[in-house]
């Protein structure tokens, strides 16, 4: 079901595929309604050329764009959410998210290679209930990290999240503790852990595994923080300065190692994996 999309989301090959892309037709920016082509979107690093809206990338698009061709093997594909609190309307929302995204839950995890380096990789999907972290997301992250330890592999996670999955109440909040504890085990095992903070990464995800990586890469222009800007503005009445909580603001304030445009993340990861191994490839 994902192969059809593979053609146009392999961003590292964006330029050579450009001709093919234009034929795939136009679509409208969800923010300013401008009609733009896929090619324009890719050329502009997934920002809308008119309003700078940062287009979401699905988990599978991300994995295909980052991993070497056919290298990715998915884990825990069938782990799915239940409604532990019998929260009103949760099941319907899950069903709708599954239908709209073709995903079972908001993260895809597994094993793949990047520029020939074997890694454990996870990618969250902001379209699935706003990338919120519930029991399944927490479980899949922990399990992926534990497998990274088992196989002695670096672990790479693409984060994007609106925060905790409220419908799972405290089960959701505890995933912060659970995933942070799993990161602790990665560290003890001396394994490299890289997180990539993409637009938007907020709430409990930022305040747990996302900010605990050895190397933190922020995608250009991404909104990253704990409390979202609307809540800050509403609660404190303060006018937020332009660029507040954006990647460039975060690197200035010492929170991330690198800010990188989306199209360059794959090549940066390859360099990091290579340097990490002292250039001794493999």
């Amino acid at each position: 079901m994902f192969n059809k999309k593979r053609g146009y989301i392999d961003l590292s090959n964006a330029k050579k595929n450009q001709a093919a892309l234009d034929s795939e037709g136009n679509f409208s920016c969800p923010s300013c309604s401008a009609w733009i082509s896929e090619a324009q979107k890719i050329q502009n690093n997934d920002f809308c050329p008119r309003c700078s809206y940062h287009f979401a990338v699905s988990a599978w698009e991300r994995i295909h764009a980052i991993c070497d061709e056919n290298s990715f093997e998915e884990w825990d594909a069938n782990v799915s959410s239940v409604n532990p609190l019998e929260f009103p309307g949760y099941e319907e929302k899950l069903a709708k998210a599954q239908e709209e995204t073709g995903l079972i839950e908001g993260i895809v995890t597994g094993r793949g290679s990047i520029g020939g380096f074997d890694v454990v990789i996870g990618a969250m999907d902001s379209r699935f209930m706003m990338g919120s972290m519930g029991s399944v997301v927490g479980e899949k992250i922990c399990h992926a990290m534990e497998k990274a330890i088992q196989y002695s592999l670096p672990c790479i996670i693409f984060c994007c999240s609106g925060g905790a999955r409220m419908q799972e109440g405290m089960f959701s909040l505890i995933q912060m503790a659970k995933t942070s504890a799993a990161v602790g085990r990665l560290h003890e095992a001396g394994l490299l852990y890289i997180s990539i903070l993409t637009h938007p990464t907020t709430g409990g995800v930022t305040a747990s595994f996302a900010s605990l990586a050895d190397i933190i890469i922020a995608e250009t222009g991404a909104l990253i923080g704990f409390t979202g800007p609307r809540v800050i503005q509403q609660t404190t009445g303060q006018i937020l300065p332009p660029g507040f909580q954006r990647s460039e603001y975060l690197i200035k304030h010492g929170m991330v190692d690198l800010v990188q445009p989306r199209v360059e993340v794959r090549s940066l990861l390859i360099r990091l994996l290579n340097v990490h191994q002292g250039g001794n490839h493999g």
Partner: protein
């Protein structure tokens, strides 16, 4: 939707005032209703106790937030035979919304860390209403590492509306400060016991709660986000917070049933908690018992058990 505990206490307070009037009248009339009044008072107490047994989740939220609740400093005074507060993160500042230090409980050196709400408006403004800033977590983090160095068990008290929602806290990496706490506690090589003494609000509360044992007082809550926030986001109506309080299952009893907390200590109805000797004794005994158990474990077993304790929380189909 009630705004504070006095709304559901109103009928009892009214009845109490009527009994007072009756007493005065009986003096004026030179008659004696004391037997009848005593009878009514006894039934009033029963009714109230009954009422407190069946508080709605929202009423429990109100009680959990009640400004009359003892604060961390009160519990420290109660439990520690000596206590020395220590200050500062050695990086940027000293956050009064989280206090910490070392004390003696039952002949055992303990590091204590907890949210500190104010007892009045002035104190609350100074303490940011118990909402920690990054400096607070980082102070706590430093004290935890010292506890580990000296093999001292850690006791934390949880009572916060949540992390500070301001610009400064974001600027100084609140998310980073919280995650570092979660990481630190999850592998700290000394026992950690947490007591939820009021509101357990979101990440700001969780940051001090990655413990081997979590104890909740019966009228406290622990929530992924405040019922108001949930109502505002999920129902687009923050006034329906009472519904959310029920749906989110945030009260002590529910969380015990879900296996998220390890023990619930019954609060006496409507009495200032620390004046109830039964309550105080139960709390003291519980903390000592947990510390005794945990201190007897081998350190690597302790850390492994803590990892598993959190690792298994979550519900899903495979």
């Amino acid at each position: 939707m009630a705004k504070n505990k006095f709304e559901f206490e109103a009928p009892y307070l009214l009845l109490e005032s009527k009994l007072d009037e009756l007493r005065k009248l009986s003096v004026q009339l030179n008659t004696d209703f004391s037997a009848e009044i005593a009878n009514i008072e006894k039934r009033l107490d029963q009714m109230r106790e009954e009422r407190y047994q069946h508080l709605t989740p929202w009423e429990q939220v109100l009680l959990a937030r009640d400004v009359d609740r003892p604060t961390t400093k009160d519990y420290i005074k109660l439990l520690c035979s000596d206590f020395i507060e220590l200050h500062g993160d050695r990086l940027y500042g000293d956050d009064p919304a989280i206090i910490g230090g070392i004390g003696i409980i039952d002949g055992r050196a303990v590091t204590v860390v907890g949210h500190q709400k104010g007892r009045d408006t002035k104190e609350n403004i100074n303490n940011n209403f118990g909402m920690p800033r990054p400096e607070g977590y980082r102070k706590a983090h430093r004290l935890l590492l010292e506890a580990e160095k000296f093999g001292r068990p850690v006791l934390t008290f949880i009572n916060t509306p949540g992390a500070d929602p301001g610009m400064g806290a974001e600027e100084r990496g609140q998310a980073w400060a919280i995650s570092e706490m979660l990481l630190c506690l999850s592998s700290l090589r000394v026992p950690v016991v947490s007591v939820v003494t009021g509101e357990g609000g979101s990440g700001g509360a969780l940051a001090l709660s990655v413990a081997d044992r979590i104890i909740m007082l019966s009228n406290t809550v622990f929530s992924v986000a405040s019922p108001e926030t949930c109502a505002s986001i999920l129902l687009r109506d923050s006034k329906r917070a009472d519904e959310m309080a029920a749906s989110l299952k945030i009260n002590a009893k529910s969380l015990y049933d879900m296996g998220i907390v390890d023990e619930v200590i019954e609060e006496p109805p409507r009495q200032y908690l620390l004046e109830s000797t039964a309550f105080v004794q139960t709390l003291e005994n519980s903390i000592k018992r947990h510390l005794d158990e945990l201190c007897s474990l081998d350190v690597s077993e302790l850390v492994e058990l803590r990892y598993r304790r959190f690792r298994k929380i979550g519900k899903f189909n495979e």
